[in-house]
Symmetry: C3
Subunit: 363 residues, 3 copies
């Protein structure tokens, strides 16, 4: 609270570095696209630009949210946090890369529940020994995650196991998407209330005075959002030739490359929190991401693909993706109910992720 009395500059050093980096990389990505650079270089530059823009969007949302209370931040983050990934998926659909999008949706969940959780456990465990996961809150989140991911998985199960429903793939996916978005809308008051009680309950997230003026926060959000749209387009342009050059198949590109690049910043945050021994908060950040993908990103993409006549995306994932998805969710649930993490658990998760990724290497 005393910090608020000292004159805080609108932009601190780390903000400036990220903004500058994002601007430079955005320009570079544009040059790479129009200048027809080598596809692999163009792909790497645009991927890096996406990561930094994601970080700018995240910081702008945080600063905006501080004005409207912690609940609003959570809601804004749910709505806008996946913005770069949303753009990449939309442009991929426009380019007809449906398998890439499907794999990216499942891959984002897998990357969170296996890779990021695993690395967080290894880093946290090596530095701090056995860590506590704040089991009561983790359990509530994990039950919602189980329910929302299961709901998202039913159209695939119906498609592969119940032939008559398979014939109505698109209709069914649209119905499920509407229901999932409804559930998300219902969860908003819940999130608002939960976040505010967190605020009063725990002192570990002190209410900082917003550092940025309102116009700056809104301006940066709009700017970064627009830039993210352009960069995502260039990223998708470079994707296919780059993957061909590296002989990577569509599913692997979506499942591993996009899933990791599109969530890079959140992933780093999760691991950093674990390294700082803030394992309960790290765990809840990492578990929240699959809920957002199942309740917002996936159904929104299905509806957008139908409304705007893009390549038709349904919620029917390949059998292997569905089974691995359900398996990971159940494993994450048991880890949450255990309430403790060790680096060996983390190493096992990383190995499991490596094995799953290897399985999709052959595409």
């Amino acid at each position: 609270m005393t910090a608020a009395t000292t004159a805080s500059p609108a932009l601190i050093t780390s903000d400036r570095a990220i903004l500058g980096g994002a601007a430079v990389l955005t320009v570079l990505a544009g040059v790479a696209d129009y200048g027809h650079w080598g596809s692999v270089v163009a792909f790497i530059v645009s991927a890096a630009a996406v990561c930094l823009l994601a970080s700018v969007v995240g910081r702008s949302v945080e600063q905006l949210g501080d004005r409207f209370g912690p609940g609003a931040t959570g809601v804004l983050q749910s709505a806008l946090g996946n913005l770069p990934e949303l753009f990449i998926c939309i442009f991929s659909l426009k380019a007809g890369l449906v398998d890439v999008v499907r794999a990216a949706l499942v891959g984002s969940i897998l990357a969170n529940l296996l890779l990021v959780l695993g690395v967080a456990f290894v880093v946290g465990g090596l530095k701090h020994g056995t860590q506590q996961l704040g089991s009561e809150r983790a359990r509530t989140i994990v039950v919602l995650m189980l329910l929302s991911v299961s709901a998202m998985a039913i159209p695939s199960l119906a498609h592969w196991l119940h032939t008559p429903a398979g014939a109505h793939e698109t209709t069914f996916s649209v119905i499920v998407s509407v229901l999932l978005l409804t559930l998300f809308a219902l969860s908003l008051p819940f999130s608002l209330r939960r976040s505010s009680s967190d605020e009063t309950g725990g002192d570990d997230a002190p209410a900082e005075a917003p550092r940025w003026p309102l116009w700056l926060a809104i301006g940066l959000l709009a700017g970064a959002g627009a830039a993210a749209a352009f960069v995502s387009d260039w990223f998708v342009h470079a994707l296919q030739p780059a993957m061909d050059a590296l002989s990577v198949n569509q599913t692997f590109a979506g499942l591993v490359v996009i899933a990791i690049a599109g969530n890079a910043i959140e992933n780093v945050v999760g691991v950093q929190l674990a390294a700082r021994n803030d394992s309960a908060y790290a765990f809840s950040v990492i578990l929240n991401s699959p809920i957002q993908i199942a309740l917002v990103l996936a159904p929104a993409l299905v509806l957008i693909s139908q409304l705007f006549g893009l390549a038709s995306l349904t919620l029917v994932f390949s059998p292997m993706l569905v089974v691995v998805l359900l398996l990971s969710v159940v494993l994450a649930a048991f880890i949450a109910f255990d309430g403790e993490s060790t680096w060996l658990e983390g190493a096992s998760l990383v190995v499991l992720y490596a094995i799953v990724a290897t399985a999709f290497w052959w595409g």
Copy 2:
């Protein structure tokens, strides 16, 4: 305890209303059947009659049980509580509607674990906030539920995944049914003991003096049982034409319509208990039903269908039914282990049920 000293009438008002309603609807259902009313009307009337007769059977069992101690009530309820559903399934088998019966068995479990549990959580959560599920007892029940439902699911898994066993479908189902009924017989002393310790431990279910004379309880049980047999027959008569008129397929009819109608009273009881903030008891009532279906109703129907030469029922359910069944059981288990419920969890369960039901709409 003091209530026992006041002269209690043999039948209180709510008893009379239900008895009267059951009698009127039973007669109406008979008239509808013999008078060839429209199939949808006949179906609705007989469904309502089944619900009320189920309630009369339930109350008679309760009054009878009070004379023999709480353990005996539990055992009687296990044995007779599913009587109306048993009759409906037998008459459906007689009419050759095997798919209806298979779907009804799985559907009863799904309706309990997703729909009823979900509505109970929503109602309870909106009225009382986060509710406790009495996790210690809930865990014991849920482990037994997992084991019994898994055992019931093995013949289906063997049929679809292990061809040689598929060729011995009937033999295998009969063996499994005998083992499941044996397990039920073994569980009787356990239930008897558990119920009596509950009685001494908890004061929330005070031992009321039986309100009905013995002859009345036995008479009503016999009468309602006999009436249930007739009404079930008429219900099944009306089922197929009514489903045709509403263009509902066999699986959906069993999975949703019969599953909900056949358990209507128990379902209402579960929700009422949650509304009264008696969430731990509500939860254990709702979780007990799948155990009874897996250990008693399903195996009894398999043996009856073989012994009496009805349409051959085996424990081989369609792949989608088995997967959804196992998924629901695992989700319910995690909810039980969480030990808390919120209305958002309830809403997610209801949405999940709606999605599953939709999948089977196309049959």
Copy 3:
């Protein structure tokens, strides 16, 4: 500690009985093999010899381990405890009985998690009522078990559900095996540390002075190991004709017969511990076995089969085996998280095992 002052004989009576029995049965098994006795008799004699030699190996490892601290014992046991089963599997692969080995690997896990756990719960529950499973430690072990068994199951899932990976079955299995063995190597310091903290924490396993001189322990280990190799060879010789004579198929032979015979001693130990009301220790012994099979035995056999040109063993198990394996692991995890066991749970587990075994009777 005072026991150490009394002169302890190198071999106590029970040691002598087992050593004598092992020697006699080993000779008998050799005679049966060279003398062309009836295949069923030869099979039973060699199976009994394998059981007793397994016990001698176990005791030698224990005595050796006592010299190097409790951590070393755990590591030695992991490495050598499955020696007889390893020999049986190697000779089976040499004889081309790949299906037997696959079934034996899954069957050892199933036998532990369903049959042995079930019998331990029944015996312990009948003698001591509801038993506590020491849930904190049980949960840590069970999470590692879930992760390692899931990792082992991915090649099968990929083979059956993701065609492109199916074409690289052998390469993929070798990669996964190397990763699993790496994970085992990583877990060694963890096991060393965990065991020593157990030692200081709990007084239930007092540090006995080693009863055997070092030369005797090493000598017996070498002798029993060599004998186990010979007997395993004879056991596999007798296996196929004996199974033909009893009309048992390869999968059932591996899943039930070898799985039970190869783990007989450990199984008896688990049940004895439960009978002595040492249920937490019994549970952790029983849960540790699947981890060793997934992290050591299975991957070691895959690499051995490739390196020594035996019949090619991969980690691709039949669909039914994989599903039953994952189901059992999840059930065991819920039981561990419940933290209590009753004889009814045990009876359900035994019934479940009987149902699974029956499914594979038709092969």
